[in-house]
Amino acid sequence: MQLNSEAMPEQGVFQRGNMSQSNQAGNAATPDSAAQLDIFRRMLRIERNDDATRAQIRRGRITAPYYSARGQEVIPSTLSNLLTNDDKICTIYRGIHDMVAKDMPLRPLWAEICGRVDGTCKGKGGPMHLTHPETGVMVTTGIVGSSMPIANGFGWASLLNGDKNVTIAYFGDGASNIGAFHEALNLASVWKLPVIFVCANNGFAEHTRYENGTSVDFIAKRAIGYGMPGFTVDGNDPFDMYAHAHAAIERARAGEGPTLLECKTFRFMGHVFGDADGYMTKEEKEAAIAADPLPAFRQKLIDTGIATEAQLAELQVKLEAEVQDAIDFAFACDYPDVAELRRDVFAEEIPA
């Protein structure tokens, strides 16, 4: 995909809101074989984990609202391939795929969504609020838009530290209409923070269709108003994602400031698991599922000789075993003691 086309917006896949000339057509980074395989591994890890989560909910073993990211795997998988554990993410209640992509270990993840004491947050956060600093999962917010102002703080810390780490703020298309988005982009631009604002535009803000709640045809256009590059990316295409994520991360590491990436995608399971999807047409949902990026990328890896069918089948078996191990671990863990109500309110435990 070209990185510098002015003509593309009409075709609906790419919008260039960039005023700098740093990303020229022809300079687009492409993932090598190892990177492609790694991106697929992360995608499949997300999908297998999501599938297992839904199965456990259907069986009544987990009682929590669940926001499946099925269909949106490419975005965090590609970004995470380009990040280290020192790079941070601030994500949202619909963000378990962002953590799984970042290679957060599944045992504490599952223990947390099952409300157990060995969960990454001792069962006090739950599936909407996971934290795992070791893999850079710093904040998972249940408040639409709130990942962005906090990501700026991590970006400021990187400037103060003089390190080259970047912080990703994940959010959805609906969050681009809340004040936090606008305040955060403005500050990040003025302070040239190493923050990348990654919007998964799945076309629906909860139940509201994009155009009924958003004033512009492309969220990336909003970057112009904040003096930063903005791109509309095919969030279901690992190559387009890679090129734009690579450029944004390089720009941030080089101290040139933030980027807004609007990544077009679709969620197959509605807003919350169990959603009847009455606000979308059957046809558009079927079309999106028919264009499922996961099997398509899998086939591409085989067709281009990057992996064999047997290798990918083996990868799947391995990932399924990892997920199953995490489930078994989680359900064997204890529930938190009620004394936890007095712990972690402050650094010092509140006396009984």
Binding site: C90, G119, T120, C121, K122, G123, K124, G125, H129, T131, H132, P133, M138, V139, T141, G142, I143, S146, M148, P149, I150, A151, N152, G153, F154, G155, W156, A157, S158, L159, L160, N161, T167, G179, A180, E183, A184, N186, L187, V190, W191, R343, D344, V345, F346, A347
Partner: protein, 338 residues
């Protein structure tokens, strides 16, 4: 409870205002700890060192990366404070006036206060929010409210409200080094009043009340802008032969229950005086705790004095009527003592 007042023969005493004491604390904290950051609207010297001048000189001394003026965007200010705090810094964010905090409530209430608990102790948010407020300047209902009750009601954030220069400095030094988020309330009627302070005033622990004066007949419990009126009331009561003990809480949350309960157990009578509205206000929690704990030992019901149930008004005559005056405290105490 302590008096924290060093004696004149051992320590050099200075005269400074609360504002100068806050400034001194910021200089000292930034000097001692390179992780301390100061930021907010207009705080850098290019913008005048704060609209009140409280942060003047800091950016020149400590650089523009540690002392930063921000856009007028409180949510963004608090978000940056939270992220930087979680990344190991000790940000002191200035929200110019307490009413402006309302547009950053999500960041403070849902995030700063709760992230330690919700992450099972993995996240630390050691930030300070400095904010100025208080009636008396005729700035009306959007520039002078005392909303400490909201934050005291939110688990996970401490609320500090000094009333004299020594406490402004000592409590701010402690707040900056505290591992948890602290709301630090600067009151417009106390911040610019000169008072005595030790030249080497160090940290004063949070959560410990100050005994302003001892007494045996009644306990007057207050903090922030109401300490002066309440102390004046105690002097008035003394003329009528009533011995009032005055306690300045200094920290609204967690408040010094031990000091308050010990005092009321001794006197058997209490009046709680706040600038904050009385209705569902901080005084309700304090009075209820006293009555739950000391019911059989009380000689009279606990009285509460605070702002009436309306916005802070503009007209001077109304603003004066809004604020608890020392005559109100005197009348309440005399009413209790019959």
């Amino acid at each position: 409870m302590s008096t924290d007042t060093p004696t004149l023969d051992t320590v050099e005493m200075l005269k400074m205002t609360g504002q100068q004491a806050v400034s001194a604390a910021l200089f000292q904290a930034m000097e001692e700890d390179p992780k301390v950051l100061v930021f907010g609207e207009d705080v850098a010297d290019r913008e005048g060192g704060g609209v009140m001048g409280t942060t003047k000189g800091l950016s020149t001394k400590f650089g523009d990366l540690r002392v930063r003026s921000t856009p007028i965007a409180e949510q963004s200010i608090m978000g940056a404070a939270i992220g930087a705090a979680m990344a190991g810094y000790k940000p002191v964010a200035e929200i110019m006036l307490m009413n402006f905090i309302t547009v950053a409530m999500d960041m403070i209430v849902n995030h700063a206060a709760k992230l330690r608990f919700m992450s099972g102790g993995q996240s630390q948010v050691p930030l300070v929010i400095r904010t100025l407020t208080g009636a008396g300047w005729q700035t009306a209902g959007q520039h002078s409210d005392h909303y400490e009750g909201w934050f005291a009601h939110t688990a996970g954030i401490k609320v500090v409200a000094p009333s004299c220069p020594a406490d402004y400095k000592g409590l701010l030094l402690s707040a900056i080094q505290d591992p948890d988020p602290v709301l630090f309330i600067e009151n417009s009627q106390t911040m610019f009043v000169p008072g005595e302070i030790a030249a080497n005033q160090g940290p004063i622990p949070l959560g410990k009340a100050r005994l302003v004066q001892e007494g045996k007949d009644i306990t007057l419990i207050t903090y922030s802008g109401m300490v002066a009126n309440t102390t004046a009331a105690a002097a008035e009561l003394a003329k009528a032969g009533i011995s009032a003990e005055v306690i300045d809480l200094r920290t609204v949350s967690p408040w010094d229950k031990d000091a308050v309960l010990a005092s009321v157990e001794k006197t058997g009578r209490a009046v709680v005086v706040t600038e904050a509205g009385r209705y569902f206000g901080p005084s309700a929690e304090i009075a209820a705790t006293i009555q739950e704990t000391l019911f059989g030992k009380l000689k009279a019901p606990v009285r509460r004095l605070g702002g009436p149930y309306c916005a802070v008004p503009f007209a001077k005559v109304l603003e004066d009527a809004y604020l608890v005056q020392s005559a109100d405290v005197v009348a309440a105490a005399k009413g209790i003592l019959g």
